[in-house]
């Protein structure tokens, strides 16, 4: 209890407190979006698209109904997208000469505290998204109720793996147009090459290595194999290792970039 109290007064928690305080204004809308996103998508699948695909494509889906196949992909893609959008843009804003980071940097907080606090916030936001998303999916029978809880930590790992590099980059950005470009030309194309909507075996053979290289594919494949119960230990280790490495390297680069930006 005492350690908990001490931890909560650690500087990084003050930065988390700031973002949570701001979130008080938008949390209702954000929960509606977190629920509506899987709801709309699962309804659409239930109403016909799924049936159509199941009739024609069950061979390449290894006999799984399409909804069970695509759901983990949608979850991970949604988490990635939120992590990028919540990290890159707000970090750029906060690092402007009049931004929140500048205010925080003039208090006892060090640049690394500011980063850790914001990272905790992204993780909490990802947890909210992942829990609501899988909850809705369980209700639709799109994922097994026993395996659903396993998807949440996988989603968190993916969120952190994308948030730290996004923050490391975002803190150096000075023009908002660069954010749009990154989203349009890097994040969105990832969907196409990462087996989100269809198995990467459907890609031309020469494109498959591209998929193996993308972090989104590692996240999607880990989440999917766990959800479908086809996970293998080597596969799980490779995926987890890849995503963890990305998160840790992102964190180190972000720490360095935060210090350079806020402490000139």
């Amino acid at each position: 209890m005492l350690t908990l109290a001490r931890a909560r007064s650690a500087p990084a928690f003050r930065e988390l407190g700031y973002w949570l305080f701001r979130y008080r204004r938008t949390w209702r809308g954000s929960i509606v979006i977190s629920v509506a996103n899987p709801l709309l998508f699962l309804t659409a699948l239930g109403l016909g698209l799924g049936k159509l695909i199941n009739r024609n494509g069950s061979e390449s889906l290894h006999g799984h109904p399409y909804v069970r196949f695509i759901l983990p992909g949608m979850l991970i893609a949604a988490v990635m997208q939120t992590a990028f959008l919540e990290a890159a843009g707000p970090v750029m804003q906060a690092a402007l000469p009049r931004g929140n980071y500048r205010a925080a940097a003039s208090t006892p907080l060090a640049p690394a505290d500011i980063l850790y606090g914001h990272l905790m916030y992204w993780t909490l936001r990802a947890a909210q998204n992942a829990i609501l998303f899988t909850g809705v999916s369980v209700l639709f029978g799109a994922v097994s109720v026993y395996r659903a809880p396993l998807l949440v930590p996988i989603a968190l790992l993916v969120a952190v793996a994308f948030a730290t590099p996004a923050a490391a980059w975002g803190v150096t950005v000075t023009r908002p147009s660069h954010l749009n470009a990154m989203f349009r030309f890097v994040i969105l194309p990832l969907y196409m090459f990462s087996g989100t909507f269809f198995p990467i075996e459907q890609l031309p053979a020469w494109l498959r290595p591209v998929a193996w290289a993308t972090p989104l594919w590692h996240g999607v494949d880990l989440c999917r194999t766990v959800a479908l119960g086809t996970v293998t230990l080597p596969g799980a280790l490779i995926h987890t290792g890849y995503l963890s490495a990305m998160a840790v390297i992102g964190l180190f680069v972000a720490r360095r970039n935060y210090r350079r930006k806020l402490y000139v």
Partner: protein, 318 residues
């Protein structure tokens, strides 16, 4: 004032700031080996034109900018190693204010106070008191977008006081404000000084420096070119009075030639001549006797503006 160690709150020796260029070579020296000693309870000013290095100095003292060379001790700590400890006891009003437009006026105080690890209960009490002190009570629950420039500045000051700092750093606190807003702000800062808070402020307004500062330094191109009380600086670097003559654009040069020799020192500014003298009346009479007919003639006491002109050959505010 006696300067034993316990009363020296800020001590800089050979303080230097060099900014790296993107290429990483040949940096730009913004602060060039300055010495400062600021005592408890005094209001200390740094007077200088744009680009003199005032903000760079303030940011180093605020411990958000590493010192390139020299030593900087604040409140008994080394700024290089104890930044967080020092920042906990400083109040900072930066040149670019960092008021949060996502929060209301009161929330700005509360949330900023949380950064110092203060409990909500203390913060609620303090924020009410500080909003009163800065005359913002009526705006407490408004969005900051509705504040005027002067109110924003006062909110920044209220926020800087939330941790009951021993030193308040103010970087150009009244730049861009209208005269009325400036006077209200000066009055509040004067009150702070009465309450025993040590103030370090930068300004390029000589009247601000004269009004608020017990001691000041004049900074130019990263160096301190003079130091002392306002009265000392005026008596050391300029005459008692100034005769200021204004001319039509084409006439200044001719008139300057005509005035030569009346007084020891004449400064020529665009459209203006300044004649430094111990008796304004006599000098003006001499000017009239030579048939010089300025558009306007003004006799005034010397000010820090004249000190600055003497020291740098430039006017403070162009």
């Amino acid at each position: 004032m006696t300067a034993d160690a316990s009363t020296v709150l800020i001590e800089a020796t050979g303080l230097t700031k060099v900014y790296g260029t993107p290429g990483g070579r040949a940096g730009f020296t913004a602060v060039d080996g300055i010495d400062l000693e600021i005592h408890r309870g005094e209001a200390f000013g740094v007077l200088g034109a744009n680009g003199a290095g005032k903000s760079s100095t303030m940011r180093m003292i605020a411990c958000v900018s590493p010192v390139t060379a020299g030593s900087l001790r604040i409140l008994g700590h080394d700024s290089a190693t104890d930044g967080a400890k020092i920042r906990a006891r400083l109040g900072v009003v930066p040149q670019d204010d960092t008021i949060d437009s996502e929060l209301t006026v009161r929330e700005n105080l509360l949330i900023y106070g949380r950064y110092f690890g203060l409990p909500w209960k203390v913060l609620r009490e303090r924020s009410t008191r500080l909003l009163e002190f800065t005359r913002l009570s009526e705006k407490a629950d408004d969005e900051v977008a509705t504040l005027s420039g002067g109110m924003r500045r006062r909110l920044t000051i209220a926020r800087a006081l939330i941790n009951e700092p021993e030193i308040v750093l103010l970087d150009e606190p009244t730049t861009g404000l209208d005269p009325q807003a400036r006077h209200l702000l000066w009055e509040r800062l004067f009150q702070l000084k009465q309450d025993g808070v040590t103030l370090l402020l930068t300004t390029h307004y000589m009247d601000e420096a004269e009004q608020l500062c017990d001691r000041l330094v004049v900074m130019d191109a990263g160096k301190i070119v003079a130091a002392g009380t306002p009265a000392e600086l005026i008596s050391r670097y300029t005459s008692r009075e100034v005769v200021e003559l204004r001319f039509a654009p084409g006439e200044r040069q001719i008139m300057a030639d005509k005035c030569r020799g009346i007084v020891e020192r004449v400064e020529e500014l665009p459209h203006r001549l300044m004649l430094y003298t111990d008796s304004g009346e006599e000098t003006l009479a001499a000017v009239n006797a030579r048939g010089v007919r300025p558009l306007t003639a003004l006799i005034r006491r010397s000010s820090l503006e004249d000190v600055f002109l003497t020291l740098t050959g430039r006017s403070l505010v162009d």
